[in-house]
């Protein structure tokens, strides 16, 4: 786990102003600066700093995977030998078709799976082929797995912080 980094009120205003997106104009950081009453240098300095610290994961386009043809969303869950999990998790997370890969706790007896890998495909057949590659990679360390397909998005909103409340 990483340590936490404290942000000041200006950082939070900057997050609040950009979390739904950057202005689409030739000088988007100037536009943000103007909205917030800051200089563009300060906006760029703070954004760069937040990126260096990992507060900003990346800046760019977030595709809607349904709209670009990835209609099958399979959450593959794996029961993997705890001693080998860190090493194998890195390998699974490095596969180019795995978008998110996490270790999570088992909750026995209800839930035995400790590795989650999100696999997207154009259809379920494509997800199955990709998941079988993960299965192969895990080898004997994997005792069981399942694929949970999403059948409906019930809610989808992004991160929302409220700068005014001085979180």
């Amino acid at each position: 786990m990483h340590g936490n980094i404290s942000l000041d009120a200006t950082d939070r205003r900057l997050i609040e102003a950009t979390q739904t997106g950057l202005p689409l104009c030739p000088k988007p950081y100037h536009a943000v600066a103007e909205t917030l009453g800051l200089t563009v240098d300060e906006v760029m300095y703070r954004l760069q700093r937040m990126q260096d610290l990992g507060i900003i994961r990346r800046i760019g386009a977030v595709p809607n995977h349904y709209a670009i043809g990835y209609r099958a969303n399979g959450m593959s869950v794996w029961d993997v030998d705890d001693n080998q999990l860190s090493e194998l998790g890195q390998n699974v997370g490095g596969l180019d078709f795995v978008s998110h890969c996490y270790r999570r706790p088992r909750r026995l007896p209800d839930w035995r799976y400790n590795l989650f890998a999100m696999v997207h495909g154009r259809d379920q057949d494509e997800v199955i082929v990709k998941v079988s590659q993960v299965r192969q990679l895990l080898g004997n360390a994997c005792k069981d797995h399942q694929i949970l397909y999403s059948s409906q998005i019930l809610k989808k909103t992004g991160l929302r912080i409220r700068a005014a409340e001085g979180i």
Binding site: G21, L24, M50, Q51, G60, A61, M75, G93, S151, I167
Partner: protein, 155 residues
């Protein structure tokens, strides 16, 4: 739940999508910098990003923040909801602003949602309130280790 883009994507759109999921520069004229790399004009790149957003091909364009890095917390939680109560429980769960995503999935645990807050105590508080209001026990699966995180969809 699926949105079809009204304008079919051409090779330039795909090129934009495949090259712009990260690395948008922090500089005076970032679109000009990227456009140059992609062999486009600044105006054309901006117009295309705007259209891809309007068409729903992109859900957002800008910085992606990591709440955990500034003191917040996130967890993945699941419920096994009886079918005849599914709609009611969906409303109950979605009513919390801390619930960011919620998906129906084909499993006994048929509702999977992400709870995030700037205040880590609030995350456990929301889970407790969901248990109280639904009478169902929540499977709480906070991330213990992250092996990679990047959206790498190829269009």
């Amino acid at each position: 739940m699926e949105t079809q883009a009204p304008t079919p994507m051409d090779q330039i759109d795909r090129n934009i999508l495949n090259n712009l999921q990260g690395g948008f520069p922090v500089c005076e004229r970032p679109f000009a910098t990227v456009a140059d790399r992609l062999g486009l004009s600044e105006d054309e790149l901006i117009a295309r990003v705007e259209r891809l957003l309007d068409d729903g091909v992109l859900s957002r364009f800008g910085p992606m923040f990591n709440a955990e890095r500034f003191g917040g917390a996130v967890t993945l939680a699941a419920l096994a909801v009886p079918e005849d109560r599914f709609d009611t429980v969906t409303e109950q769960v979605n009513s919390f602003p801390e619930v960011a995503h919620n998906y129906r999935r084909n499993h006994d645990f048929n509702m999977w949602f992400v709870v995030s807050s700037d205040d880590p105590d609030r995350v456990s508080g929301v889970l407790k309130e969901i248990e109280d209001v639904t009478g169902l026990s929540v499977l709480n699966l906070p991330k213990e280790e992250e092996y990679f995180l990047e959206l790498k969809f190829e269009a």
